[in-house]
């Protein structure tokens, strides 16, 4: 796969995230002030977090965890065990935050999950956790 192809995939992921934003807003309407600027989401709203977290995911996580967050990214074949299926994860938000910041090895998981604490801001990590929670499809026990 060429670098141009990879760039196209990232652009497609960002486009997808942008396309999903209106859907998220429709699913959980918030008390947004529909001002002359249009339907802006409040910065601290869950929908805004999902949107921003989707962008973080598309930029940093999709290579291993895949567009569908099912652990089937383009680099997944390099690893055993495979990257986690984040849609079916049973971990809570605190665990997500820890493993994102500290990496897999520090949490007794794969050494190939990098520590993102020095790369991502706290807001980006929090948004990513919100996004991962929003796509989690594991049946509630």
């Amino acid at each position: 796969m060429t670098i141009d192809a990879l760039r196209c995939m990232r652009a497609a992921a960002l486009t997808l995230a942008c396309a999903l934003l209106p859907l998220a807003s429709e699913a959980a309407p918030s008390a947004t002030d529909a001002s002359a600027q249009g339907a802006l989401l409040p910065r601290d709203s869950r929908d805004a977090g999902i949107f921003r977290g989707g962008l973080v995911y598309a930029n940093y996580c999709v290579t291993c965890h895949g567009f569908n967050a099912d652990g089937n990214g383009r680099a997944a074949r390099l690893y055993n065990p495979r990257p986690a299926n984040l849609r079916m994860s049973d971990k809570n938000d605190a665990y997500f935050g820890l493993i994102i910041r500290q990496g897999g090895e520090a949490m007794g998981r794969s050494q190939f999950m990098p520590p993102w604490g020095a790369e991502l801001t706290d807001e980006q990590v929090n948004d990513l956790v919100i996004y991962l929670r929003s796509i989690n499809a594991r049946p509630k026990e």
């Binding site: 291993c64 074949r77 190939f112």
Partner: protein, 108 residues
């Protein structure tokens, strides 16, 4: 040929064999979230040492047919070395910094 000359000749021959057998080592720095070179041409059997000169962790991986690997994350001042044992084009990436990319051309 005296004994000294004989020993010198043997030493030189062994050195030449070692270089041809193990290949040359190239060094690429990772600094400012970028590789120090965008493209590198190496010979089959050569190695490339990636040195992290940034104050944060980097990673090296490739999904190319000529060389697929992930060396994991490594911190400040550390390095990782890859031996290129198959000819072709190898696209090197850093998993932590998606904009960091470079190409290694491996020739016979």
């Amino acid at each position: 040929m005296n004994l000294f000359q004989f020993r010198s000749a043997v030493t030189l021959a062994l050195l030449a064999f070692a270089v041809s057998a193990f290949g040359a080592e190239h060094v690429v720095a990772q600094k400012g979230k970028a590789f120090s070179v965008k493209k590198l041409s190496v010979k089959l059997g050569d190695s490339v040492k990636f040195v992290n000169e940034d104050p944060f962790s980097h990673n090296i991986f490739s999904l190319s047919d000529a060389k697929s690997f992930d060396l994991g994350s490594y911190g400040v001042g550390l390095s990782k070395t890859v031996v290129f044992d198959k000819p072709g084009t190898v696209e090197i990436e850093c998993a932590v910094h998606p904009d960091m990319k470079m190409i290694v051309e491996v020739s016979k």
